[in-house]
């Protein structure tokens, strides 16, 4: 197996493949936060995010032996996680949806020209808007705007050309901007016609 020498996960993977199963927990420690947050932003509630995270890592444990090292481990793992999340969503689409107890606050147009929303409510609106995106657009928003991947890295993770990443992100942002326009600056501008 060729290992990218600058890959910080390299020694851990080598250790795991040499039979040290506890090395897997080091990988867990390094990546659980990012994967959990990816899962949460993909599915929108903590229960499903927990299940999805666990399944992704179980899947990783099964597939780790097939990692060839021709890319950084994180790129390979995130591609595995993204693909698994998409499959999971398609399968879960048949199930009744669970929602977090904290419901998203919706504007009441009868309350007046403007209404200030708390930051928490705005965040819930943003999350709700992200969830409304098609999966491919949702993924690029999460990877770029939330997890800090650049276009090339996203292209490697998602397996599509950089141009496709660019257009997906552009369309996603335009949709989000349209949805969230009434709530910019924490105030509801729904009744303020320009």
């Amino acid at each position: 197996m060729v290992i990218n020498k600058s890959d910080p996960d390299r020694p851990i993977i080598q250790s795991f493949l040499a039979g040290n199963t506890s090395s897997f927990n080091e990988l867990v420690g390094r990546h659980e936060r990012a994967i959990y947050n990816l899962a949460y932003r993909m599915v929108g509630n903590t229960n499903d995010a927990a299940d999805l995270t666990q399944e992704i890592f179980i899947h990783l444990h099964k597939k780790l032996g097939s990692f060839r090292g021709d890319s950084a481990f994180s790129t390979w793992f995130y591609r595995l996680a993204v693909n698994y999340s998409k499959d999971w969503l398609q399968k879960e689409a048949r199930r009744p949806k669970m929602v977090d107890i904290e419901e998203v606050a919706l504007p009441n147009s009868g309350t007046g020209p403007s209404q200030l929303y708390e930051r928490k409510e705005i965040k819930e609106l943003v999350q709700s808007a992200i969830l409304s995106l098609p999966e491919d657009q949702r993924i690029v928003v999460i990877l770029h705007d939330l997890q800090g991947y650049d276009y090339k890295e996203i292209a490697r993770v998602t397996g599509v050309p950089v141009g496709t990443v660019k257009s997906r992100l552009a369309r996603a942002r335009l949709k989000l901007a349209e949805k969230l326009a009434p709530y910019k600056d924490g105030a509801c501008h729904e009744n303020m016609k320009s």
Partner: protein, 345 residues
């Protein structure tokens, strides 16, 4: 460049992911176009709002369970070594289960604690489907039985009721012991035991006949006139979860699943219901979790004014000593096969 071209580039423009030439063209267009300036401001504002989202901490229970993956039994996580090895392993496992089931049956017959129906069930019970599924996962796609934790309503709904009440997956138990005197025991605490029950004085882990300090008997079955909605169902789930936290383990689910289900069936009968009709649906719900699971609570009531069963299952995975730390509530129609609502903690 026209507005359409510019708007398509604005996202990459903000990210610095366009060429120098494109930057000049966009800048030039923006100078004289209020509409595109407004679009640019909207995109920047949107990015700012997304950046405000908090990064979540991984829940402790999730983190703990992730660290159990590597220490799980090899058969649940390691890739299969070959068809023949797995076939032999399966046959050995099946034979061991069959012997254990027969031993259990003889014990129960001797103690007079087994009625006809259960004797028939025990004799006709098949080898655990879980074992076969795991071995069949060789080279299969990711969504095999080894990928646990799926709650597939469709599979549950498709399963036909078993008229004989036979339990699809009967764990004969290995090391299971159940004394006839357990039912007469009084004031047992509902708590984890550190070693298998060997005498009446030892505390049992939520097994039939145990009573906690509040006088509650677990597992619990109730008939009520309550009309639940989503909110009150969540409250119920939280309440039962709190009452049974730490009381059940993976080992319990492996060794006592059939026993607990049988006890719940009897309790339904005692309340005037048809317990035998619920055996298969409850088994169906347990099996679709594809992890260690136990039913702990059933209530016949209403949900949004519709007659229903509320069935709470505790489940989890990991080693035998791990808690069944997850709790799920299935609200089904009276047949138990059609799930109306589902929530999970």
């Amino acid at each position: 460049m026209n507005c359409k071209d510019v708007i398509e580039l604005l996202s990459a423009y903000v990210d610095g992911e366009i060429t120098g030439e494109e930057i000049q063209q966009v800048d030039s267009h923006l100078e004289g176009c209020p509409h595109c300036q407004s679009q640019l401001a909207a995109i920047k504002n949107l990015i700012s709002m997304v950046h405000e989202l908090d990064e979540l901490e991984v829940p402790a229970g999730v983190s703990r369970s992730l660290r159990q993956i590597a220490t799980d039994k090899p058969s649940t996580t390691m890739p299969a070594k070959g068809w023949l090895t797995n076939r032999l392993s399966y046959l050995v496992a099946t034979g061991a289960v069959a012997i254990a089931a027969l031993t259990l049956l003889l014990i129960q017959i001797n103690t007079g604690d087994l009625d006809k129906q259960e004797a028939l069930t025990a004799l006709t019970g098949k080898a655990p489907v879980q074992e076969l599924s795991k071995k069949q996962a060789i080279g299969s796609e990711e969504k095999s039985a080894e990928v646990t934790g799926q709650h597939d309503i469709d599979q549950s709904a498709k399963a036909a009721p078993d008229g004989t009440g036979a339990i699809p997956n009967t764990y004969g138990g290995d090391g299971y012991s159940y004394s006839r005197s357990d039912d007469s025991r009084s004031q047992l605490k509902l708590k984890r035991q550190e070693s298998p029950a060997e005498s009446d004085e030892l505390l049992l882990r939520g097994l039939p006949g145990s009573t906690n300090e509040a006088g509650e008997q677990w597992p619990m079955v109730q008939f009520s006139n309550k009309n639940y909605d989503k909110t009150s169902a969540e409250v119920l789930l939280g309440d039962i979860q709190e009452k049974t936290n730490g009381a059940y383990s993976v080992k319990d689910a492996k060794e006592n699943q059939a026993l607990i289900i049988s006890k719940m069936v009897k309790k339904i009968d005692a309340l005037g219901g048809r317990g035998d009709l619920m055996r298969s649906p409850v088994n169906g719900l347990i099996n679709q979790t594809k992890r260690s699971a136990l039913p702990v609570y059933m209530e016949k009531a209403k949900f949004d004014k519709q007659d229903c069963w509320l069935i709470i299952i505790r489940w989890g995975f990991g080693s035998d000593e791990n808690d069944l730390y997850k709790t799920s509530l299935y609200i089904t129609d009276l047949s138990g096969w059609s799930v109306i609502h589902y929530i999970s903690n």
